[in-house]
Amino acid sequence: MDRIYLDNNATTITDPMVKQAMEPYFCEKYGNPNSLHSFGTEVHPDLRVAMNRLYKGLGAAEDDDILITGCATESNNTVLKGVYFDLIKNGEKNHIITTSVEHPCVANTCRFLENQGAQVTFLPVNKDARVEAEDVRHAITEKTALVSVMWANNETGIIFSIKEIARVCREKGVLFHTDAVQAIGKVKVDVQDAGVDFLSLSAHKFHGPKGIGALFIRRGLKLPPLLHGGEQMSGKRAGTLNTAGIVGMGLALELAVDNLNYEATEVRRLRDKLEDGLLKLKDVMVIGRRELRVPNTVFISVRGVEGEALLWDLNKNGIAASTGSACASESLEASPVIAAIGAGSELSHTGIRLSLSRFTTEGEIDRAVKAFTEAVGRLRAVSSSY
């Protein structure tokens, strides 16, 4: 049985072209780019191509920085902790604003900084599962150092009004960071147009390799390094350059941007087909309006069926999905999004996320709808609450 991968918000298949582009840097061009000899210098042209692709893909200017990091978690930590060290620890500012639905790498870093003495506002989401620019405006104080709002939510796929939020922050003279991990390759992400100060991304979410990410820093802004060490990345992020990863991420971003139209049309069509198929079931609810979501994500709550149980049955049929149900997490924490939108606490254990990619096929969607429908039928027959 062929398996069907509908968990692309967790990670994606590496595009075979990306994998191929990365291959020479293991056994042939394995030099350290910081070495002076030919082994080191021979990779420079390829790295420059990759960096050009990153700058172009994000719409960054030559005098902006795009630091290569190990992952978006590292990028987010660099911004939050850097702002803490530069503006909060010295007493100049004391406040960070973020949302109640951020990925743990933002949420838990903020909680850590709270313990260090920073004040953090976790803005709740509204019934559209969004935080609006006006919510941010009202939360800003004279002591606010940074606002950090995700571009798109990992569970629901809901897109936040990043451009408007960035404008509010600029008006108020507050730094603005966005975790764009779930937006890259799904919707247009242009740092100039959006007017963000910092932006984090991770290659493996857009068919690049795992273990590499990036951090955009607007020109003129400085952050103390999270990783101190050698002179790599102008000393702003030490550590030997991951040549294969940088090359892979560069190509992956170029391909992702090239495919944005396909994403907006074909991936969206398949997602809508999947969603329509699932909505034929009785007593199900999709979280978030379609037009507010990235084209690849559907987050659905099935009354009477616990999320992990449904995931189990789908997996038996070779279908990979994801759940925000507390029961499936090792920490037993309930889904922050379902809890935040106040959808009724009985639904907080029933959410299933299905996320497509440009590699998803029509046949896979048809099979997924069938398997999902059967699984819901079986589990509702067992359920005490349906």
Binding site: E306, A309, S325, E330, S384
Partner: protein, 321 residues
Amino acid sequence: MAKKDLLGGALWEAYSKKVAARMDNPTNRGELTAADAKKLHGKLVVADHGAESCGDAVRLYWVVDPKTHVIKAARFKSFGCGTAIASSDMMAELCMGKTVDAASRITNIDVERALRDSPDVPAVPPQKMHCSVMAYDVIKKAVALYKGVDIRSLETETIVCECGRVSLGTIVDAIRLNDLKTVADITHYTKAGGFCKSCIEPGGHEKRQHYLVDILRDTRAAMEKEKLHQQMETQDFGSMTLVRKLKAVEQVFREDLRPMLAADGGDVELVDLKEEGGVWQVFIEYKGACAGCPSAGTNTLSAIESHLKQKLGDNIKVVPS
């Protein structure tokens, strides 16, 4: 811990084959109706426990022989994850053929053991033990319904960790006997807090009545207090350090003298403590009704002094200021 925990994500791999099989095909799922009960000449019992909003809900059906109190048939329905469904299925099976009293002694630990593939390997990972607790709770509900008694009358002890069924008494004893200082110690000695972790501190998966952090803090505080009392009783005042002396005197003030004077609206404060020629002078200041009271320099003073001497030793002289 450490190496085996670093990669994570092994939740389903840690399920026993029996858990997986019962999740895929729960043999005792379904309902029992009044008609079924009539056919079996028994009494129908339907017990519900949990709620969808808590992540787990289970309904247990029994047909019980009213003469022998033997459970002749058992079925269940469950809203929950794989572990919840598999444990409910096993729970229903364990009930069958037992008397209601015997069934009331089945715990979630019995259910988990019955689901093991081999006796030494847990059937589910620690954080999933929680999901088997429902199976225990719903039996208690069914017993209470059948007998027509309050469910609380069936609980004989306060359970702090439901996953591991560890009682408050067991935890307090373990802290006292082994001088435990951390929650990790408690988990190591009693297993409490080693499963879903809800009972460790507020803010976990479930709200609990008792938390290990509070039990530890309160028990340690009680132990400290007892230790201090013991030291004061056994240690000679003259050989105490200055801080100890001060604390000992303050304790007599707090626990004996001030309550005694308060009865007449008076009060007294410790001002200083100084040694002179081998005698410890306790300087005091009267407050409230005592200030200006004629007996403050006579009867009250000698009562305070004799009380301190009785508690702490003879080399004490009280000096009013």
